[in-house]
Symmetry: C2
Subunit: 194 residues, 2 copies
């Protein structure tokens, strides 16, 4: 057994390969979803044999699980006035979707969550842990805060669906700034309540 020493030399470990597999898997899952993504294709993208994927991740399902890890990177909304929250959320999400083209995490999650119960559960978890609390801190306490947060999330998800998944032409015709201008008031309407 190899022992780690303090003066550890730079070695070509399996970690690099594992990261390569994960990146390839994310890209495939994002483009094709869970079912149509094959272990063989992921392995080919990563430049190794399919059996290596099994070695490092155990099974296709575990590989998928690993690819689902996501951090929405929501900013801290502690001091944000309620009026500015909607525009900020829209801007942040659009930027997140259109930012780094190699960051397929959101695409993986949304595309998979619609047909894969495992991914749907992950989505619910992300909403409960990352989205709902952040929105709740910017709102005065009320019994229907979680419901309003869910409806705001629905709006943001619907935007992503129409623009980045279905690619409705009129939705694509808008610039990010125009989306913010037209869509933020809609978030605000749910935020404020009827």
């Amino acid at each position: 057994m190899t022992e780690n020493e303090t003066g550890e030399r730079a070695r070509r470990t399996g970690e690099a390969t594992k990261a390569g597999i994960l990146a390839a898997a994310r890209a495939r899952f994002a483009r094709q979803g869970y079912e149509r993504t094959t272990i063989r294709a992921v392995a080919a993208d990563a430049g190794i044999d399919a059996s290596m994927v099994m070695r490092y991740f155990g099974s296709k399902e575990q590989l998928f699980e690993a690819a689902l890890t996501i951090d929405l990177q929501l900013p801290d909304l502690g001091g944000i006035p309620q009026q500015e929250l909607p525009a900020l959320l829209v801007r942040h999400f659009v930027a997140r979707w259109e930012g780094d083209p190699t960051d397929d995490a959101l695409l993986v999650l949304l595309r998979s969550a619609v047909t894969n119960e495992q991914a749907a559960a992950r989505m619910r978890d992300i909403f409960a842990r990352q989205v709902a609390p952040v929105i709740a801190t910017a709102l005065p306490p009320a019994p229907d805060v979680p419901q309003r947060a869910a409806l705001m999330s629905a709006q943001l998800l619907g935007l992503a669906l129409a623009r980045y998944l279905l690619r409705l032409p009129p939705a694509l015709a808008l610039t990010p700034a125009e989306v913010e201008r037209l869509y933020a008031p809609a978030l605000a309407a749910v935020l404020a309540g009827p």
Copy 2:
């Protein structure tokens, strides 16, 4: 001419079988999506052999195509005042989603459109032919009417996504009337513009 006789095995006409296959296919596609739905499973649900499905529909893809035929049954909005349109749309869509449980058409379309380009194209077509014109008739002419219609569709799709596909608990906690009360103003915000 074949007569229906009680107690005797009536041989099915081809149309009845075809309709049975289509109903079974819609249910499977709605629950499992395109990839995980197998011809054998559809045939078993319809109580016939898998080769019958091929006989009647040619291929799995053509069966899917047939299952995608959808009529949103949007009411004529000719005389509707603009103020009432959002609530009417929300009510109509929620009713359509929660109405007939055997009518899986919407579920098929939405679930498939996220991973299947064929279904996505169908969705764009439905938006362009059924949704956008109806919304446009209720609005004063403006250059950004299609964009606003697309964003309203995004909101309705997001609602369906959160409530019926992802099943976010807070979104499920709302009654249809509460959804209408909270969500219609959001549609109105997009409809009216900033």
